[in-house]
């Protein structure tokens, strides 16, 4: 560790310079560092593919489950189950719609790390 890059062997000096460089970087790019758009979209693409199907089915399962339990409780079999089958299906479609819209499964969800242009766009929509 006698090279010029090591800062003359003084670890604290390197540490201090690293902190300074990081602070400078964060001042320029904001403290929420982002990955490059390509990398981000690739990971999110695989993530989406894995999620769409299960989001659709999960809401349907929950809807049928709620309907079934309400039927058991109120003795109205099979009407509430049929009703909640459709509500669950609608919730599933809504989940997928939100996912594809980029609002995710969340209700009223907004990305915390928008570009300024996107933010204005979202303000109108949500």
């Amino acid at each position: 560790m006698t090279g010029n890059g090591g800062g003359g062997g003084d670890g604290d000096d390197f540490d201090r310079r690293l902190k300074a460089a990081r602070a400078q970087y964060e001042a320029a790019h904001g403290s929420d560092r982002k990955r490059s758009p390509e990398e981000r979209s690739r990971w999110q693409g695989i993530g989406y593919a894995m999620r769409v199907g299960s989001e659709l089915i999960a809401a349907l399962i929950v809807g049928v489950g709620i309907g079934y339990l309400l039927d058991e409780w109120l003795g109205t079999r099979p009407w509430l189950m049929a009703l909640f089958l459709f509500i669950g299906g609608a919730a599933g479609v809504m989940n997928v719609y939100r996912l594809v819209e980029g609002k995710d499964a969340g209700i009223g969800w907004k990305r915390p790390d928008h570009d300024p242009g996107n933010e204005a766009d979202d303000g109108k929509g949500g």
Partner: protein, 242 residues
Amino acid sequence: MASPLEQFTIKPLVEVPGGFDYTNSSLWMTIAVVTATVFLVGGMRKRAMVPGPWQSMAESVYEFIGNMIRDNVGSEGRKFFPLIFTIFMFVLFGNALGLVPGAFTYTSHIIVTFAMALAVFVFVTLVGLAKHGLHFFSFFVPDGAPKFLYPLIIPIEIISYLSRPISLSVRLFANMVAGHTMLKVFAGFVFGLGAATFGIGALAPIAINVLLIGFEFMIAFIQAYVFTILTCLYLNDALHLH
């Protein structure tokens, strides 16, 4: 020949009365926790300014989750780092160690993944309630929807919210079961085809299994990633309503 599903059998290793048996599932959970701890503690033992390979791996996992939280939750999410990091490591090591021949994959059991997903769901809901109080329930009333549609939309939103732990757990569980079953089915073909064709026919299923193993390593990582990023997104939802 053994059934492809036999690998998912839970066997008690140490019998404890009252249903608290120490099973092969518990054994592999213990192994995962120990391995993850050794990986991180051992990697950070030297605390070198210029990290070696091991320290570099430990640091990159830390940075990966750190960046994920910053990207998806923002700086408010920092105090939840230990929870999210633990979830990631537990799922990742469960998935990856399950690929060791003869190992048991505890993430292939719906009760394990559902328990984790439910814990995340309850925790996130409590965070939302603690931060926003009763205003949290405005979560279920979409902005800009006409009032007369509320009786229809609010149940849909509630079901959509309740479906989170189901989709979170079913996705992980189904991917693990499907992958491991597929590996076993093709491994079974090796013997069947090999015996019928003097060994030549065995090459095709072996080649497929080689590809599948690589694919399974990718799935193991991606599923851990998806589970963790969804935890982040749910947390973000609870922290920043509308």
